[in-house]
């Protein structure tokens, strides 16, 4: 195991070795970029002259349209929940009154006087259910 790691230079005795390695590692990247130099050349003379693009035109296409799309998509995502009057954000405190839909007329106060037979049913495992957290 140490033999394999021995091939890796972990302990540089001279900083120049490190610098040299870095320079050598950069050479393929530089060569690759150098291969793109033909792009600087002018277009062939047989081609029709292109009109120079005005700054306004470029700004419109490259900046305004993407920003507009960002805004539009964000709106499309949030409008349905805004229309549904969403007031709940997970993580913020919920300090509203407790509500029991379809509950008994006694309300939550009735829960403080539980039915012992029903509690027995719970303890014996006759009731079921599941839970989840978010």
């Amino acid at each position: 195991m140490m033999g394999i790691l021995g091939g890796v230079i972990t302990d540089q005795k001279a900083p120049t070795v490190r610098r040299l390695t870095r320079a050598v590692a950069l050479i393929p990247a530089i060569l690759l970029c150098a291969m793109a130099t033909p792009a600087i050349a002018a277009p062939p003379e047989g081609w029709p002259q292109a009109e120079p693009v005005s700054t306004l035109h470029a700004l419109l296409i490259l900046v305004a349209i993407p920003l507009g799309l960002f805004a539009l998509i964000t709106l499309l995502v949030h409008v349905p929940s805004m229309a549904r009057h969403e007031e709940y954000t997970p993580g913020l405190a919920w300090h509203h009154q407790n509500e029991w839909f379809g509950g008994p007329s006694g309300g939550v106060e009735a829960a403080d006087k539980p039915d012992p037979k029903a509690i027995e049913a719970v303890e014996e495992g006759h009731t079921g259910g599941a839970s989840a957290r978010w």
């Binding site: 969403e86 405190a93 509203h96 008994p104 829960a111 539980p114 006759h126 599941a130 989840a132």
Partner: protein, 130 residues
């Protein structure tokens, strides 16, 4: 944008929607449903069980407890309901509610969960009557 009533978590139209989904669920599967939204006193599991036991017919009832502050949803099914609605199906409904709640949709999550529970609970015991 949103009509926030001080002291009340839901608008009246949202309450109406939840009530309607409960009524539809009860019509669909002839079991009783109720949804409690609020803070549980102490441990959520036992509290939900206590609430469930105070219902008029706990054996035929399904109680859904949503605690938005503690971010827990707890569902309790009565002993008779369990014959048609097993715990795995309840777990599925709880998971779908969890996803809706995490996205901030309390009312939609409740409606969806109640309908899913009712849908699973109404399957006939004999699938092929021969």
């Amino acid at each position: 944008m949103a009509q926030v009533h001080v002291g009340e978590g839901f608008t009246s139209s949202q309450r109406h929607e939840i009530d309607k989904s409960i009524r539809d669920a009860e019509t669909m599967c002839r079991y009783e449903f109720s949804v409690f939204v609020g803070a549980s006193e102490g441990e959520t599991g036992p509290f939900a069980a206590r609430l469930h036991s105070t219902l008029t017919a706990p054996d035929r009832s399904v109680l859904v407890l949503v605690d938005p502050a503690a971010r827990i949803v707890q569902i309790v099914t009565g002993s008779e309901v369990r014959r048609d609605l097993d715990d795995a199906e309840v777990r599925l409904a709880a998971l779908s509610m969890q996803i809706a709640f995490a996205a901030g949709d309390l009312v939609g999550g409740i409606k969806q969960g109640v309908m899913m529970l009712a849908d699973h609970a109404r399957k006939p015991r004999m699938l092929h009557a021969e």
